[in-house]
Symmetry: C2
Subunit: 331 residues, 2 copies
């Protein structure tokens, strides 16, 4: 079966490239509201499920014990651009647990935010683990490990109590099995498990509503959503899609990007969860696809719709600033 | 019609992403040797046809008049990484025509080679037009313009004598019409024309053999091929695919990447031209696809095949250097 085109890229009057994929929208009982393409194929959610992976940090009492702020909780579910505020926030989390960046097992990379990367290079410094876009999630793992009185060393391994707790949360919230036969290693070295798209959408519908979750878990989910809505910069960064989108919609949408063309979203007031996987892994297509889905379901007044328009169709400009094309949902 | 999968991306035991596209191999008479997918759709070749775009620079006598070296001719067909040697070579070309970087109309961007970009940032400098991956092609356009006694100003515009000459070469070598209805603006502001994939492959079969070209044009094509084979670093840069591939195969293959998932190649000893377009525009897939096609047609001894293996299947490593997956031709 051929998946539908989720986004097309134009240049002049010609469609230059096409991105196919699958998308689904479900309610918090798993009822399918919208479905396109082959949604049953297992998909690695990658970073899109960081909010589910952070539930044990809250539920265990670790966040309370170390007095994590709203910004720090937002960082624990972020794929951040490695800007100074992200780096400082991750370090502050580690210090609250009596640790430092030496504990992080995510590996180092240059900030994914280009201006931040240039500034770091200009300063003569090299990137460290704090610059890794996952350092907030990993700082949360270290806090969880310390609160559980477990040695954080090896916290990225599937058998470590931290990853066991994370896997338990993923299975319970998405309702999908997370077995070793569908396990891959993520960019930051933790396990990632391929699950069908409806399970991801259901997980987000539950995160967005609390429906179907035990009370403590529903409370933790609400706390995470509030933290991200209050700190959309922290969860991504300058000019990033999640930051821009939640900057426009506030608490009305909770969205999260994942590598290789995954996007998940919750629309709490509608009780809906959304999940997109672009077949070819393209982030530019996943952004436009999730934007188009949100615009389709979420009622917006005229001003909001105008502010939202660039999020469902992106203008491509060349090095002289000339508009050369668009990335858009197919007509 | 659904295009076939040209490359798949694995993680653990799961195929995480799939890239579809079309590919064709023709001889220098246009005879089809291999074809996969919908090859009739117009495709912007983008930078893949820089060698054809550089023919007027040679044929006009401009390259001789200004005493362009082999390295400078290789740079005129490059999509370079903006490393110091690329920048110096582009500037040298401009100086030979009595001009400087102020003439370039390609726009500025940070070097596409990350180490070069970091080094430039570290030095406190900002990127200029010489760092643009197309600066060699543009320096060639300025040389051509000066040799034609035309003001270089506006040399990127479709009506300028430089672009008229370039368009003439593209039409003659590919055999395809290059009309305004299929024109887009490229990243560096010159026109790019969408043409069917067989025309691109035919153009490369002719470039690689001279067959079907007037003698002066065949000579210019041979000169360009020799220049690139002698300077595979110049045509791309550190760790770049064209540089690695021609580093292994030398004169046996002439390859060129284009943006949005295009790859073209000539295999002169076989008289073949190859063209690939990945539907979704992914460069990682176009690389693996052209590598697999070359490996399929070009006889290689054991040592060459071993050196070539990483060019038809790429290992993906995460930030801790752990192998997490592969980009490979489908099994």
């Amino acid at each position: 079966m051929e998946n539908p085109v989720l986004a097309e890229v134009t240049r002049g009057n010609v469609v230059e490239s096409r991105h196919r994929g699958a998308a689904i929208v479900v309610d918090a009982d798993g009822g399918v509201v919208f479905s396109a393409g082959e949604v049953g194929r297992p998909v690695f959610p990658r970073s899109a499920v960081k909010a589910i992976q952070a539930l044990p940090l809250i539920e265990s009492g670790a966040a309370d014990r170390y007095g994590l702020t709203e910004a720090e909780i937002a960082l624990s579910v972020s794929s951040h651009s490695g800007e100074p505020r992200h780096v400082e926030t991750a370090l502050a989390m580690l210090r609250k647990a009596g640790r430092d960046a030496g504990c992080l097992e995510c590996g180092a990379h240059w900030p994914i935010g280009e201006p931040a990367a240039r500034a770091l290079a200009k300063s003569g410094a090299e990137p460290g683990a704090l610059n890794n876009n996952c350092s907030g999630k990993h700082a949360g793992f270290v806090c969880l490990s310390c609160a559980l009185d477990e040695d954080p060393a090896g916290y990225v391994k599937p058998a470590h109590p931290v990853q066991q707790a994370v896997r338990g949360a993923l299975e319970a919230v998405t309702g999908a099995a997370h077995g070793p036969e569908r396990m891959g290693i993520d960019g930051c070295s933790i396990p990632t498990y391929a699950v069908p798209l409806p399970a991801l959408a259901l997980g987000f519908a539950r995160l967005g509503t609390g429906h179907g979750l035990p009370p403590e878990r529903a409370k933790a989910a609400a706390l995470i959503r509030a933290a991200v809505a209050a700190h959309p910069f922290i969860v991504a960064g300058t000019d990033r899609y999640d930051t821009r989108l939640m900057g426009v919609l506030g608490r009305r949408a909770f969205t999260k990007t994942g590598a290789e063309g995954v996007y998940c979203a919750a629309l709490p007031e509608l009780g809906l969860g959304l999940a997109v996987k672009c077949d070819d892994g393209a982030g530019r297509a996943a952004e436009v696809a999730i934007g188009a889905l949100i615009a389709r379901f979420l009622p917006m007044d005229e001003a909001t719709r105008a502010a939202f328009a660039p999020l469902s169709e992106a203008v491509l400009r060349n090095w002289n600033g000339i508009e050369v094309g668009r990335v858009r949902a197919p007509g």
